[in-house]
């Protein structure tokens, strides 16, 4: 049973068909990267999977259960963690309050103890009482991931976690995401940055203009320089 199975997903915003018939799957404990230039539909696909955006057609199954059409908060409670592109943190909450808020909502699911989150991201422990809105970009990203982990997810969806981050921070980011995967959480990563994608993903799906342009193992993607073809046309 796949952790996540998406079949023939179509997402439109009014006139715009942002995603046209996307199918992909993520196995338990696996890390898959969804790559593609901007406007390819990656964010739309991921937001539809998480229930923030309605889908026009297609099916989404999480751990064997059909979650198409459920509300975002219901899907989150089932164990699908989401770290959106601009993090959507509670800017007036402190780090600790953020994690506590997530824990309170997840009480029924046996949430991850907050101590474990601090063990994964020691810098958050240092900044426990600081307001989320005043953290640096990298720290905010860690808090967003930590918040998603509190609900003890089986699959973590990250949308361009490196966006807006200085290149030095990305190493720490990659390490933490890999550590999360090692603890048994499947990862679906949306990225534009090939470097990060390569460091995290085992498999790769390339999206261009809403269509799945290519998919295969990460090794193959690098060897065949697929990204260049998808991004730049025939080159």
């Amino acid at each position: 049973m796949s952790a996540l199975r998406v079949t023939d997903l179509w997402v439109s915003y009014g006139q715009v068909a942002a995603v046209r018939g996307l199918s992909l799957h993520v196995e338990p404990g696996e890390a898959v990267v969804l790559l593609g230039p901007n406007g390819a539909g990656k964010t739309s696909a991921v937001e539809a999977i998480c229930g923030f955006v309605p889908k026009r057609r297609g099916k989404v199954e999480f751990l064997g259960e059909d979650i198409s059409g459920l509300s975002a908060s219901t899907i989150a409670r089932k164990g699908l963690g989401f770290v959106p592109q601009w993090r959507d943190l509670f800017s007036t909450f402190s780090v600790e309050e953020t994690l506590v808020a997530a824990e309170a909502a997840a009480r029924r699911r046996k949430p991850t103890p907050i101590e474990d989150i601090y063990a994964l991201f020691p810098v958050l422990r240092e900044r426990k009482a600081q307001l989320a809105g005043s953290l640096s970009g990298g720290e905010q990203q860690m808090l967003a991931i930590g918040r998603a982990l509190v609900t003890n997810p089986k699959l973590l969806l990250l949308d361009e976690p490196s966006a807006g981050l200085a290149s030095g921070i990305t190493l720490a980011l990659v390490q933490s995401i890999n550590r999360v995967r090692e603890s048994g959480v499947a990862i679906l990563l949306v990225e534009q940055n090939m470097e990060i994608a390569r460091a995290i993903g085992e498999r790769c799906c390339m999206l261009a203009a809403g269509d799945l342009a290519w998919q295969g193992s990460m090794k193959e993607a690098i060897e065949r320089n697929e990204a260049a073809r998808v991004y730049f046309g025939e080159h």
Binding site: S71, A76, D88, S91, T92, A101, A105, G133, R147, A148
Partner: protein
Amino acid sequence: MLVELGLVLIAGLKFGAIYALAALGLVVVHKATKTVNFAHGAFAMLGAFASFLIVVQWEWPYWTAYLLIPITIGAVAALLEFVILRPLRRADMFTVVIATVFLGIALGEAFRLTYNTELLAVPGMFAGSPFVYWGVIITQETLWVIAGALVTAVGCVIVFRYGKLGRGMRAMAASVRGAQICGYSVDQVYMVAWCLGGALAGLAGVFVAPIAGVSVELSIAVITAGFVAGVLGGFDSLKGAILGGLLLGVIESLAAAYISSAMKNCVSFFLLFFVLMWRPEGLFPEKVARRV
């Protein structure tokens, strides 16, 4: 002279405490749902009317009014949120304002139909001999209103800030998507917010019934006062709502005493105008962290 000022201030605090309650309810709903409920005043009027029923009509003990009415009005508010506001969740602000404005009218009319008099009188809870401090006469009722309303308001802020009930609303106020990611249900949080807002309005109605009587005008007066007090406090700040309410009450009382009684209402207009134009974030805004 000083005694007169003292009396004016006490009167101001009395109304101010009620405005604080009214503003609090309005701001709670706005914080959680980003909409202003223009029927909020009507909820207060219904609370006052229910107080009339309980105290005058059915002659139950007064304290039951203070207990039962917030619960009932809160439930009514939650029901109305479900029936009218939830279908309009995706509509724009314009539509929601229109809907709540006319909802308030409908509720007012429904009241007017049941009791065809213009004004219903309700006695106060305490009728004993007043206290006198330094020549200033304070009735027991006044003391009760000031203390009771303020204690409730502060208690509400504490619950909101630290209690589980408040956490979902605060999270949703800070980021709707972030809250959903944690698993907070928008439907649930919005309904709870309306319930709390309605309960606070109903309670304000019970406090104000002996002072102003029950009438349709009460509904307009409460929404106006609550809104202006909220704006004074910085519309998304709970403690600001309380402070704004007290400030509004005192300023109005001073204006009524030293300028003229009619000027009392003009005070609202000028305060609203000036704050919106020159300090739209309010006089007591909550700390705002840098944009995430």
